[in-house]
Amino acid sequence: MSPQPAHDITLMVNGEAIAESVEPRTTLVDFLREALGLTGSHVGCEHGVCGACTVRLDGVIVRGCLTLAVQCDGRRVETIEGLSDSGELADLQAAFERRNALQCGFCTPGMMLTAQELLAAGGVPSRDTIRAHISGNYCRCTGYHAIVDAIESVAQARAQQG
């Protein structure tokens, strides 16, 4: 089939109103990276397995490679750039650095967004719960222990602060 007519979409990305024209087949993560230059969300497997493309859509994490940009018309998208600027992830970012929870950093943005959704539920999750929660995010460098350590330490610190 030949290229299909573009659709005009308007959406909020990291709090900023965006109006763009997209081909139906453009995935959300490609749109963010290529049209908006937000390259913090990564593209790994492109079939939902690795979690590198994780972004927030209307407040919940989704796969950027399994959502079409055209479906995000009228919706609210947040990426690692926005969550980093807002300070929402500051303690998690510091813990990842302190615990060596990243090496190449390819998985890190997706890992943090995923971890933050678990942490936002409150309490101190068990290490097994943390592992199950990040089971859809692949890291080829760290062996996961340090990532679980970092997430656990943030959960404990946040619980103490109340």
């Binding site: 089939m1 030949s2 290229p3 299909q4 007519p5 659709h7 081909e23 139906p24 087949r25 995935t27 490609d30 492109e46 079939h47 939902g48 979690g51 994780t54 859509l57 919940v60 994490i61 989704v62 796969r63 490679c65 399994l66 959502t67 079409l68 055209v70 479906q71 995923t114 959704e117 678990l118 592992r131 199950a132 929660h133 089971s135 859809g136 995010n137």
Partner: protein
């Protein structure tokens, strides 16, 4: 990889979706996209039109009606997993949901999509069969209801025609005598199962009646283990496990040989039988 080009339309109503899907031979309904978009990205399928049903009124309901739990096609896995109605009245589904993929997949994937896609290793089709549920379908010739036992017809094949929209599933609401069991084996949390078992029964006297054992990951569709059901109804667990040799003939696949799967099916039956009995008062 990237998908081949396709056209995209947001349906305005279920009728509109049926009409659009019927007009174009290579149209596909787009729900959560968690299976469909993956296959597009890998160019395993090349539809000409995607009909987006997200946001349609009347497809995201979740209610207890006339002794049944009705779950709209667009109810997301995560939403079903949080629902008190499901936890109380369809506990088998509540138990199965955490095994589906990962949090980001469950935030977007839908109940209707899982049933329509009919992956042979998926949890929800087997739950629907175990519960003796039914599927509500809107098509070109109006609405119809198909029983779970008749709905799954082959590998990724169902009673859904190309212009059919799955509207909802219905399962009988649990009561005090309802017993359920669920177990699966997967290499990693969130992977599709190597082998899994969803089961339902009714407590009767010291034993169980109306036992339904629905295996997944052992054939083209969910598979009822009918001889094992009969043995279990007699209270003969060892004979039930032995009967699986007749009930199941799992083919070798990329994950495991059929022989290993058949052995694991027996392991799961012992675990699930325990759950069915423990649930008794």
């Amino acid at each position: 990889m990237k998908p081949a080009p396709f056209a995209y339309t947001k349906a305005r109503s279920v009728e509109h979706a049926v009409e659009l899907a019927g007009r174009d031979g290579e149209a596909r309904i787009l729900a959560g996209g968690q299976s469909l978009i993956a296959t597009l990205n890998m160019r395993l399928s090349r539809p000409t039109l995607l009909v987006d049903i997200n946001g349609l009124d009347g497809l995201d309901g979740l209610a207890l009606k006339d002794g049944a739990v009705e779950i709209g096609a667009l109810v997301r896995h995560a939403q079903a997993g949080r629902s008190d109605i499901i936890a109380k009245n369809a506990p088998l589904i509540a138990k199965a949901i955490p095994h589906i993929g990962h949090p980001a997949i469950r935030n977007r994937g839908t109940i209707g999509g899982s049933i329509a896609f009919a992956d042979p290793a998926a949890e929800l089709p087997a739950c629907l069969v175990a519960l003796g549920g039914e599927v509500v379908i809107a098509g070109g010739r109006g609405e119809r209801t198909v029983k779970a036992d008749d709905f799954f017809t082959g590998l990724f094949e169902t009673e859904l025609g190309s212009d059919d929209v799955l509207k909802a599933i219905r399962v009988p609401a649990a009561n005090a005598a309802t017993r359920i069991g669920f177990a699966e084996l997967a290499r990693r949390h969130g992977d599709y199962a190597l082998v899994g078992l969803a089961a339902a029964a009714r407590a009767e006297g010291d034993g169980l009646a109306d036992i339904r054992l629905a295996y997944f990951g052992v054939g083209a569709t969910p598979v009822r283990a009918r001889k094992a059901e009969a043995e279990l109804a007699r209270g003969a667990l060892d004979d039930a496990v032995a009967a699986l040799a007749d009930d199941l003939d799992p083919p070798d696949d990329v994950q495991e040989t059929g022989a290993v799967k058949r052995h694991l099916a027996g392991v799961l039956l012992r675990r699930v039988a325990k759950q069915l009995m423990e649930g008794r008062q």
